[in-house]
Symmetry: D2
Subunit: 361 residues, 4 copies
């Protein structure tokens, strides 16, 4: 069982390399009768694609998606939806030098050892370009969640390096996310982040950070204990994104310093429905959604490709020095935002279908 | 697809409630010919079982495991191994009062809404008692990993509340883990933690903390990109443990404040093999094990059951106050250690088999 | 991915050997709130268990089932239902001689080669005793199908050796199935079959035959093209039963000699609903149930264990002669009837849940 | 879990409709380092494609395959291989009339009821055109089986209507299969079949038949009891092919009339290896390959589309008469041959990988 598929009932199978003919996926399990058009998908791809602003890579990929199946007269048919995004701007020669060495922080060495060969150009299958397929599929999941369940998913950049927004997720003004190229809803902080990113690129270096995400409208009852808890599947989805190193839900790591009496969110009736006071639990209790907003955060390491001189070894084991090539983001955070949303949508859509299979009347 | 199974090739299917006849599991995919005896499993269950020390719950469960299949003359046969742990010390009347209300921080409300009914006694399926099955199965995975691959997995308590051990994972003296009831390898800090736990229990309150885990000896090449990355499956496994709220691998959340030039671990040849200087990557690159120790941390929230008076609502929506009953750990961390190890072993054993299915000569 | 589990949403994982502690399974995916008692399961096991009549094996196994989880106050909880059937009447010494040779028509040689060892007593995991677990699980599936969907499944013996009942499945009097030990609803033919079976046993030989099965009440829309067609999953289920060698649905092999103009079943309105004239299609069109009865047949080879002298080789490759030992049915057909029903129920229950996951309003 | 994927370790996910942009699939699990070129795939597609001879449909589809990923410098990389076959010759207007009625023997009614809508043109997803994706994927499986395991798979037409070849599978001259358009290795019988097919087409009618298949070189030990037996997975694969109604392995249905003493195949040593005298077991014992040729047969019903006047109902339930349109084969058997081979190859490749995951040294 190869690891290129994700989900159980709402399931995607992906393919494609950075510098091959294209990337794409098949979406299985999307219910029939959902209104869906190319633009629903394209607009999410546009948020992810390179070259959007001066703080992202200058690689130009229009990332135009073609729907190969599963759509008829503007609605889904219930059959697999295949999506294809052709690769266009490929400069394989940028990577010639890389074939002889193992770049630190990259998958060169591990792919070579695992598969006995590796696709050097653009990192092949290990490239973040593969996330385009996830974003395209996630757009369909988002549409399904919105139309059938009223669920809305929004992510933003919470921190870049040491610059961190402290507003609680439930109070973030989501209308501000797309107001700046960093995708940080705090406009003032976003400017500082942008400056930091630009300065770091000039230094030939890179930055990490944290993306936060909220899913509003998730009904009570999604999540399949004891292993396929909603937070467990979200954790897997987030750690499956390139460059991510951590996941936390609700109070997360900081919550470990609280006492139970502070951490337990009391139940109460508000607006005529059961809610909790506070959301340290992050919208999941016992692995099942509680009806409160689902809130989580994802840690991204600084981009591995940097222009600074680095030490490593070549494929023969000789110690060498080299500089990164290719066109890369000095900070992946802004472009990680739609990816986090897409992966979250895939998890939630899957659990929506799984809840339906429980046959509760 | 219910969520009570875990893994793909090395796969467990679990069952059981806190106060029903018992808990257990079926382990599929264990290769034939592995030497295995009851003690291999029982000793791990003994590390998890309640009543081990004065800082854990006084519920007494011998947790004796019976092997129902898959063993012949002291070796595995390659057929499913079924494990059964009978429940014994059940005081269901402790829970009578609970049936009328929704405890904060517990799964009472979400189970009721999802399934339309709930097993009040001991929390039914939502009880951490279900982890006994995972620990039993994990013991088999541990044995397989040790015997066939030389992989050793060790976890310990890194923090309790604000008390935190700062020793890097690779430098921890693992022989010290079992030297104290807290399972913190820093003996002095362990004493402080123990005092804090005892004091907190007297206060009728509870504590959270962080477990750290290292897997030594993992060969290069385990992990199945792009979704079933080793760290993604570990993240899912850890967030599938009761009370966990976060996961991070290698540099994790702290690593987001580093620059790429600091974070990238240079490759070098050491002891005749390819290694890295530093281990910010935590033993995985591109979702595949690098041959370096796999290091990760798991955040556990403070125990939800506390003796302090708490506000909540009853099943009719009336605001009420109540105190937790039943016998619970004021801090789950010490008993979480063998569970983290077990879940990690399940993930690694699964990926060991999956790597074999790649048919690399 | 070991092969001891069956189904996707309504899923069973099985365990157990012929002469080990017991056999059993975990049933995942059964919806909550279904009324279920031990007798629902036990009565199906009683139909399968050995020693029912003089034409079946004299091995005595009470086959008492214990429900280890998933039931509360007489209803299912939606959590896994674990079932355990202890083995009791084990005469392992009957099999001592067998350990040194490979019996023709048995799995001795293939298990030895695949696993590097084999459990000689009773054939270990290859024994038809493992079908007890399927029958127990199937009883739950049957109950679900009956209670929630009004589906009823009935199988019977259509032929034993050359003695064949020619009544079309839709016209069989299912109330007659249990009226004789052969489970052939044609009483007169059943007597001939019984005589034939008894004579064949006296000859030290064995017989094969065909079981036919009908599922009434299956609604339109079950089956998941293009691969998980209803008939494809039924075919797999039937070929997964010990000793089965063939499956056909509707017109089957005989239908290959018809012309399209004879074979196509015209649609018509009858009793106010869409039906077909004739049922050559056997209740499935394009892999999806049509609302007509689902009708299929399963071929079973003659029992491999016979008392006649047979040629074979020992484990060292020497040509030898031997006689079968152990207590076996001279004809498995009568006891195969509840197994066929159980496997059919597992397939249909699974597809009932899968259809629900399609989110059609 | 939608039903458009097949296999576990060697796994295909398919997409596409008869008259949409194209059909295709993603092949997961193909090991790295396998030599593979477009022609390996194209030549199998050419055997399946319409318009090959005057006895098949005149629909012209070049069925040119494009490999979108997973290949590098002529070898597989171990990453998913995506295949796309564009549709070209689409005459949707042929189907306009069909949208108002339910054709007998077709999936019109069941798709409409299941999905709430249907793609009328060419039958949409229910079209046998989807088998092009399976054949393309199967070509890769065939290559893997041949190169790594020395397994060769050959199918042929055994019967058309009542015209049946009686040569045992093991004695068939496979070099003769492609010598005539019927793909029946008995040249004389093939001519009669061809005449029968041509005459039947002139009559506006259609024919069914049986395809037989042999897999030579399958090593001992493939197949995963107790459910994923080799024959069970083959049965599923075959019943997943459009128009198939039956499957039998080895002695099959005819074998039910034998006695055990005739049916059991004695083991013997021949050419220095363990074999059996006779092959009534069809190459599988206890669900596991025995090292003998795997031999099975598949029943195909007569083509549902015929030119004769047929009765049915329209979508409003009115009784009507109509004649089939579109260009269809009067007998699908010749073109079913490469499909049967492809599906068999997918099953065997999957089990080859699964056997490797057993970690037998």
């Amino acid at each position: 069982m190869a690891g290129d598929s994700f989900g159980t009932l709402f399931r995607i199978s992906t393919f494609g390399e950075s510098h091959g003919p294209g990337v794409g996926c098949i979406v299985e399990g999307c219910p029939p009768g959902l209104k869906l058009c190319i633009d629903d998908i394209q607009q999410e791809l546009d948020r992810r694609r390179p070259g959007q602003s001066k703080i992202s890579t200058q690689r130009k990929e229009p990332d135009s998606v073609e729907v190969l199946s599963g759509l008829l007269n503007g609605v889904t048919t219930g059959t697999p939806i295949a999506l294809l995004i052709r690769n266009t701007d490929q400069r394989s020669h940028d990577y010639d030098e890389m074939s002889a060495l193992y770049r630190p922080g990259h998958a060169d060495y591990t792919y070579q050892q695992k598969y006995g060969l590796r696709d050097v150009a653009g990192g092949g299958r290990s490239s973040a370009r593969t996330t385009a397929a996830s974003v395209a599929a996630g757009a369909i999941a988002k549409k399904l969640l919105k139309e059938r369940f009223g669920v809305a998913i929004h992510a933003w950049v919470k921190s870049v390096g040491a610059l961190q927004m402290t507003t609680p997720a439930e109070q973030v003004d989501i209308s501000m996310i797309e107001s700046n190229p960093v995708r940080c809803p705090d406009a003032q902080l976003a400017e500082q982040m942008q400056s930091l990113i630009e300065q770091t690129r000039k230094d030939g270096d890179s930055l990490g950070g944290v993306v936060e995400c909220i899913a509003n409208g998730v009904p009570v009852g999604w999540g399949e204990p004891i292993f396929d808890r909603l937070e467990a599947d979200l954790a897997k989805a987030m750690l499956a994104i390139n460059a991510s190193k951590g996941f936390e839900i609700g109070s997360g790591f900081a919550g470990t310093e609280k006492r139970g009496s502070e951490h337990n969110d009391p139940f109460l009736i508000k607006d005529g429905k059961v809610q909790t006071e506070g959301n340290d639990h992050g919208g999941v209790l016992g692995g099942i959604s509680s009806g409160m907003p689902v809130v989580f955060r994802v840690a991204f390491k600084p981009t591995a490709t940097i222009a600074k001189l680095q030490r490593t070894i070549d494929v023969d084991g000789n110690a060498i020095e080299f500089r990164g090539r290719g066109r890369h983001d000095p900070c992946v955070l802004p472009r990680a935002v739609p990816i986090v949303e897409a992966m979250a949508a895939l998890v939630l859509a899957d659990h929506a279908l799984r809840a339906a299979a429980l046959l509760r009347d």
